[in-house]
Amino acid sequence: MRRRAEERAGAGGPRYPAWLSLPAIAWYVAFFVCPLAIMAVFSFSRREGFSDIVYDFNLENYKDLLDPLYGEVFTRTLGLAAVGTIATLVIGFPLAYYLARYAKHKTLLLLLVVVPFWTSILIRTYAWLIIFDPDFPVIGALDLLYTTKAVYIGVVYTYLPLMVLPLYAALERMDWSLVEAAEDLGDSPLRAFRRITLPLATPGIVAGSLLVFIPMMGEYLNPVLLGGDKTIYAGNLIGQQFLLSRDWPFGSAIAMVLILSMTVIVLVYARMTSREEALSG
């Protein structure tokens, strides 16, 4: 009885029949789950001739992926995602901190972070094509177009808002009098930050890191547009299999490895946050 009451309280909201969910679930199953399942089957098939597919459950595509050449692509992708995540965290944290603790016009300033997130990624990337153009004042002279540096700047720019929002959500709930108390009692600002702010901001840091790390692992546009498709990351490697070499089974295998490694990361994250909750009671 008690459990039921709890469940209701936790779920909340007015009562409506469960079958209302069927159209959406049907859509998800037909056009999301099925495609991913077929892609999984594809990754075990092989291509014959130009575009015929033979389904003969084999591991060739995955064996091909063991080639050091592709190992390099994956470490490069991991590097991009890791460095990109740290960079967005370092750049975004002070902004989120400022918004949560000091900012006066919070609604407006927060809206200014949200708008780029919902703005066309293509156009936001395109903007850097203009800035990196050799004829652009000052920055053009740095000769960044079609380099890996350009790709790094591009991904940080693309995903920064996604990092700031969860950081802000965590810091916004903070009780700043705790920090003030610690400082009054003799903690240096840095020590108070380490002992109070940082632990309380950790859920936001983890959520933000995950939100930017995952899409960075599959990043496609920045390597293609700003990197000129010259340096290969997992995302544009997949794209090439579908657009240039037309080896769909191999492309599927790369995509499988990509989402499997992401699943592992998400599960580790789930473990970490549940331990976090257990610790904080």
């Binding site: 779920a11 007015p14 469960a18 969910s21 056009f31 400022y98 156009i123 916004e172 709930r173």
Partner: protein
């Protein structure tokens, strides 16, 4: 002192976020034939873009897909949001997982899997396949926004309506819908911008003959930056900006209870 330093840093981050967008906007008003060679203020490239059928045709496609996608996503997403709170845990948790998965799966993976699926199922690629694929993640956008509002609404009014003999349909129309309308509107607007701006998924499931506005811009980038593309980009920016700001204000005004949102950025 620390406060001023952090404030300065925050200002710099805003410059970083907006300077590139500003660059596109400023150079779109350059009258010269070369993007970076300033030859005076002019709006002629906007006129040029709007009279170019290779831009207006994709624009029409994008609008048709964006609007139909928003309508379908609103129906599917709202219905899902209504049914979820009272689902049995064993159903709710996997469905919830599915909703989030459609949003976090990298678009390149979803794009190619949808491509394989449509080709294998013998569905001709075109407007239809782009629309179907867009609805997948936009139904989730609407569901999350509507549910965040719905869960905090309390159940007493609906219970009263049921007690007075109304069925689910008239209860929805007369009691729930009026209170849920702002969230549905905001969800629909965001679903529209998501679809209107989408590049990667559309890129893979569009087939050879169909072009949306982002696809058109991308294909012209092979020939480098150009003033017409700049003007087109600014028009896209303006349209999304209006939609996002309206959605944001509607959600704020009507006071979504939770902070930090079910969806980043809402």
């Amino acid at each position: 002192m620390g406060r001023r330093l952090i404030g300065g840093w925050a200002a710099l981050v805003y410059v970083f976020l907006y300077a590139p967008i500003l660059v596109v906007v400023v150079y779109a008003f350059n009258g010269g034939r070369q993007v970076l060679n300033w030859e005076g203020f002019s709006t002629k490239w906007f006129g040029e873009a709007l009279s170019d059928p290779t831009i207006t045709e994709p624009l029409k496609n994008s609008l048709v897909i964006g609007v139909s996608n928003a309508l379908i996503a609103c129906v599917l997403g709202t219905a899902l949001a209504l049914s979820m709170p009272r689902m049995h845990r064993w159903v709710r948790v996997p469905v919830d997982g599915l909703v989030y998965m459609t949003l976090v799966t990298p678009e390149i993976v979803f794009g190619i899997s949808a491509l394989i699926f449509f080709v294998q199922a013998g569905v001709g690629l075109g407007l239809k396949t782009i629309l179907i694929a867009h609805v997948v993640f936009n139904a989730s956008v609407v569901a999350l926004i509507v549910r965040a509002r719905f869960v905090g609404m309390g159940e007493s009014l609906e219970e009263a309506s049921y007690d007075l003999g109304a069925g689910p349909l008239s209860t929805f129309r007369q009691v729930t819908l009026p209170r849920l309308a702002p969230a549905i509107l905001a969800g629909g607007l965001l679903a529209f911008t998501f679809s209107f701006d989408d590049f990667i998924t559309s890129f893979f499931v569009s087939g050879a003959g169909t072009t949306t506005l982002p696809l058109r811009i991308f294909s012209s980038l092979r020939f480098g930056i150009s003033p017409v593309v700049n003007a087109t980009a600014v028009m896209i920016l303006a349209l999304t900006l209006v939609a996002v700001v309206i959605a944001y204000l509607v959600l704020r005004r009507t006071g979504s209870e939770r902070r930090g949102g079910a969806l980043p950025g809402v």
